[in-house]
């Protein structure tokens, strides 16, 4: 063969070779370098952030986002494939319900989207996945849902999150900015079968899970309190009941319960009345439990001493032309006796002697008339009218817990201040907030907000209040063996048009345990109990039931019973008792 032929042949092969590889190379270069995003199916996928968990002080889960799914179908595709009866039968058996309902939903050939069942569980979703149903006909849509595993427990404190993922009260609302997290965003490139091409993500911002909130509540104490309240409501046919338990030394709220209650998992079925946290949002006239505050102020101002004798006017005292009555008539009582017997007249005389200015200052110092806990959504501030709106009768009414509106939280914090050597702590509901990586972003530290009474007065008050639970006191039903309880009973008539309704009242008992070195303060109120209606008969036993269990749970050592140092009745007092009659 000639050399020219070889050259031509070689050139031909070289051209073919270069053309083939050039084409492949050009295509590869185009695909990898000159890739055009607008020519490919790109989709933005929102990555919803998981809402943070709410735990009790021992790490028990109170609220958490759970995986839930919606079962969705494309009825048009199902009808075209002729799978209506088969799928309806399958889902009927799976969910143990009538298959006809599914069949009706699937027999809509014009529809392209039909939710067959909402909020199905992970187990049910796994069973559906195992069936390997055609993906273009039936699929599962992730729909995380807030779940409250302990159901009604602490429902008012925790609050709820609705179907649109909006917080609707309680801690869920108050700490929403911590709990909700931050949604992520992912832009993905879909392949021919609409599956993601995993190595091509133009944008990938991962979601930030919400922070975990650790409460000061103890789920076990909460359960004790709620069980006792349920029993009280049932036993006394009451409209409602509520209780607050706080750690005296730190101000931490250990339990807070309100009845009627609701299940936050089914918040939409709850009556409006049941959603209210009466322990913090309900302003009411506290009645005689407020005498603890009045008498503490009088002792602090050195107006009276525990052995000062007051004339209780045998049950009827006219002041500024208006009568004031005691539940039981008493003659002369010491201050200790006034507290023990809950004499309205005795307390009113102390308030009059104290004076309006000092009484008002005392109310402010104890924290009445303003919100106390920033983490408690819906907390009421109470009603403390300014002094210039008072009439001459007002101090006598405030002394026995009328003409003033308080919340149970304010009341129990005032008592806790007495139990904490006069130091008033700020109530706390949140112990710690930790982000998704476990780093603490907010830590609780006890905050002293003031000292309304000195240590000596506080100790004296504890002793005086301990007399209330003695056999001759109004709160004897709150006492239990091994421990001294310092407490106060209260029975407040509810206001009605033109005055007060003596048939509708709120029975309360609040107390410190143990009296000599208080660990916790507890307030129990029962709304409109029937037929018994006094705090000593209705609320004190509820207090006892809770406190008796709580001291064992909290491992509070039993104290020895101290003898009374204060004479209870003037007639029983020593010869040198202060007989100042007011």
């Amino acid at each position: 063969m000639s050399e020219g032929f070889h050259r031509v042949r070689f050139a031909f092969v070289a051209v073919v070779f270069c053309a083939a590889f050039g084409t492949v190379g050009w295509k590869l270069t185009y695909l990898h370098l000159a890739y055009r995003q607008d020519a490919t199916p790109e989709a933005a996928v929102e990555l919803p952030a998981m809402r943070g968990r709410i735990l009790d002080r021992n790490g028990r889960v109170l609220a958490v986002d759970t995986p839930r799914f919606h079962l969705v179908a494309d009825p048009q595709a199902v009808n075209e494939a002729g799978h209506v009866e088969v799928l309806a039968g399958l889902f009927g058996r799976l969910f143990q319900c009538d298959a006809v309902a599914f069949e009706e939903m699937l027999r809509q050939p014009a529809s392209r989207y039909q939710r067959l069942r909402k909020w199905i569980s992970l187990e049910e979703a796994d069973r559906i996945r195992a069936m390997k149903l055609p993906a273009r006909e039936v699929w599962l849509e992730p729909a995380p849902r807030r779940h409250y595993p302990l159901e009604e427990l602490a429902a008012h404190v925790i609050g709820f999150v609705n179907a649109e993922r909006q917080a609707g009260g309680g801690i869920e609302l108050a700490l929403d900015r911590w709990l909700r997290g931050r949604d992520g965003l992912r832009k993905v490139i879909r392949g021919r079968r609409l599956g993601e091409i995993a190595d091509r993500r133009p944008l990938d911002i991962p979601p930030e899970e919400g922070a975990t909130v650790e409460l000061t509540l103890d789920a076990d104490l909460q359960a004790m309190v709620e069980a006792a309240l349920d029993e009280a409501v049932r036993q006394h046919s009451a409209l409602g009941a509520w209780a607050v338990m706080v750690d005296v030394r730190t101000g931490e709220i250990l339990a807070m319960a309100s009845r009627p209650s609701f299940d936050p998992n089914r918040y939409n079925e709850a009556a409006t009345d049941a959603l209210m946290n009466r322990a913090a949002s309900y302003t009411y006239e506290p009645g005689s439990i407020f005498k603890a505050v009045t008498m503490a102020a009088a002792l602090e101002a050195d107006i009276v001493r525990p052995d000062t004798v007051l004339d209780c006017e045998h049950g009827l005292w006219h002041y500024c032309g208006r009568p004031l009555r005691d539940f039981h008539p008493y003659g002369r009582l010491t201050v200790a006796g006034v507290i023990q017997k809950s004499s309205n007249i005795g307390a009113a005389k102390c308030a009059v002697a104290l004076g309006e200015a000092r009484l008002e200052q005392c109310l402010r110092d104890f924290g009445f008339g303003r919100r106390l806990c920033e983490d408690l959504s819906g907390e009421a501030s109470g009603i403390v009218p300014p002094r210039h709106q008072w009439d001459p009768l007002t101090p006598t009414r405030i002394a026995m817990g009328h003409s003033i509106g308080v919340t149970s939280l304010q009341m129990v914090m005032a008592l806790a201040a007495i139990g904490n050597r006069g130091v008033r702590m700020r109530p706390a509901l949140v112990r710690r907030v930790a982000d998704a990586r476990g780093r603490t972003v907010r830590q609780f530290a006890p905050v002293a907000e003031g000292q309304p009474v000195c240590e000596a007065t506080a100790r004296t008050m504890c002793e005086l209040l301990a007399g209330v639970t003695q056999p001759e006191g109004t709160g004897r039903r709150a006492a239990f063996p091994g421990y001294r309880v310092a407490g106060k009973t209260g029975t407040a008539d509810k206001p009605c048009v033109g005055g007060y309704d003596s048939h509708r009242n709120i029975a309360s008992f609040m107390g410190l345990v143990p009296a000599e070195n208080p660990v916790f303060a507890l307030l129990v109120s029962v709304d409109e109990p029937q037929p018994e209606h006094t705090g000593g008969v209705v609320a004190a036993p509820v207090f006892r039931r809770i406190a008796e269990e709580a001291v064992r749970y909290l491992r509070i050592p039993a104290g020895d019973l101290l003898p009374h140092a204060v004479p209870l009745r003037a007639e029983e007092g020593p010869d040198d008792a202060d007989w100042a009659v007011m």
Partner: protein
């Protein structure tokens, strides 16, 4: 002279001819290497996506189990379980509790019962 020129020209042509397949082979090798890298990236991305899905599944299972576990540990559930098995059990009262206090000087510890400990706590002992 003419023959020598002819031999030289042939040698130059051979050199030119050898350059082309070498360049093509190098390009081919580069392409193959690139393809292999792309393939590896795609495989790793696939594995990462699968791991992401697996992580999400495990997280869902964990949360689900937590939700099932939480109500089982409540006071009411524990009491119901104890009752079901006929066990009478409750927290020990103060009279049945022994409090151990860290000894100040003597070794071996000191057992202090409730009332005495209360006195200590209150600063009366």
């Amino acid at each position: 002279m003419l023959r020598r020129q002819r031999v030289k020209a042939r040698a130059v042509a051979r050199t030119r001819v050898a350059w082309l397949p070498l360049a093509a082979a190098a390009a081919l090798a580069g392409l193959l290497f690139h393809l292999r890298l792309v393939q590896q990236c795609r495989r790793l991305a696939g594995e990462m996506a699968a791991a992401e899905r697996r992580l999400e599944q495990l997280r869902q299972v964990r949360v689900n189990e937590e939700c099932r576990w939480a109500p089982m540990t409540t006071l009411a559930s524990v009491r119901a379980a104890l009752k079901r098995f006929g066990i009478e059990m409750d927290w020990a009262g103060g009279e049945r509790t022994v409090y151990l206090v860290r000894p100040a000087s003597p070794p071996g510890g000191e057992a202090v019962r409730g009332p005495r400990l209360a006195q200590r706590v209150a600063g009366r002992e």
